[in-house]
Symmetry: C2
Subunit: 228 residues, 2 copies
Amino acid sequence: MRVASRHPFPHPSIRRLPLYLRFLKQLRDAGSQKISCTRIARELDLDSTQVRKDLALTGIVGRPRIGYVLTDLVQAIEKFLGWDQRALAFLAGVGNLGRAIIGYEDFRRCGLDIVAAFDIDAGKIGGEVFGRRVYHPAEMPALTPKLGVSVGVITVPAVAAQEVADVMVKSGISGIWNFSPIRLELPPRVRVENALLTSSLAVLSVDLKRESPEAAPPFQRPPARRSR
Amino acid sequence: MRVASRHPFPHPSIRRLPLYLRFLKQLRDAGSQKISCTRIARELDLDSTQVRKDLALTGIVGRPRIGYVLTDLVQAIEKFLGWDQRALAFLAGVGNLGRAIIGYEDFRRCGLDIVAAFDIDAGKIGGEVFGRRVYHPAEMPALTPKLGVSVGVITVPAVAAQEVADVMVKSGISGIWNFSPIRLELPPRVRVENALLTSSLAVLSVDLKRESPEAAPPFQRPPARRSR
DNA sequence: TAGATTGTTAATCGATTAACAATC
DNA sequence: TAGATTGTTAATCGATTAACAATC
């Protein structure tokens, strides 16, 4: 029984909202006023009932025969996601991935404002990455409450991930966006989301393997061996 | 009815396999010989039946009371994912994210070997990124069959994503790992996996919003208004 | 009005979890 | 042997899809 991780909102739906948001903003910026679930579903290759239920999560109300008012819908999604408000963030691990995330402007539009970075490399400390100062992790506990930072982004190598997570927890951070491929042990008050790049690659790999069966298929499930 | 996208293997299970793999390799390298689902489940905070079913996908067979032979299990997972074989890849879009992915050694261990990169920036073409030559996309159709490349990684800005996907398709690539936040239109023979970073961020954002209800909760579902 | 679309309930589908015999 | 663990079937849970009245 896992009562702790009960979700009032279905994760699959939440994951689709940014996809809608991007599409809808594009339409809005192109001058459209209204949009129907039918059309969203057609353009994004989804089921229209699913789109309707997903959008309903945000509290938006549409009108039969007409659809939704685009500007309202965009706002409703942004508000539901909390992307209308800024969350200040620290990023730990100024390697290639860390640099890429700091430099990726899109996350700003998702309410995530990375205000400083951390690394243990003396050559990086004191420098700047895309305008953000790089500090030693030891400074995090003092800086976090001072700046009002609530989110930690982890882009350090796997071996260092738990350690830096511990520092973040000690600093009073409320949520961690974890790009390292390990499970972090965290107190229940700290929310975590794992951006598992290798999981995504795994799905593609298995999919490709099915398409090009160079060897015999690896499963060939043998018939059941037991009866009860 | 969506017959086309029937999966013989459950995606959630496939996504968990890399997590097991990393943990198991670590144990193996530390000198362990055997491992039970019970322990894997405990350490990774999962259900042990779920772990058992996930591992069963790979065809591995364990022994009651003992568990699985670690080296066999690691091999079975790698083989199932196709990570025991190399897939050559092209990466399009040598921005921050592209550079990070080229430089991320872990993907090599997942069988993905990025052999060259593409960009339309004249300042980048002809140069190298982590030892990989950068070409103009126009050269892709000739290079792909010549080098035997089967995967395309897309890290270009959203506006250019469909265009570069079209070039990849024309080049004869079989799978696309898409980091751009749009749905690509592709012929059915081309497999695609979307690495949706903003979806991951959305889940964290909603989770954090629940924890810190600064404003009134945004849903407050009104009572049903209709009867049938 | 006619017909497209919303909102919602019901049915289906698929994944997770529980239960348990077989096994070592 | 006793008891922990596997492999598998059954039950539960949750998400997707179908059906349809209400609405404009």
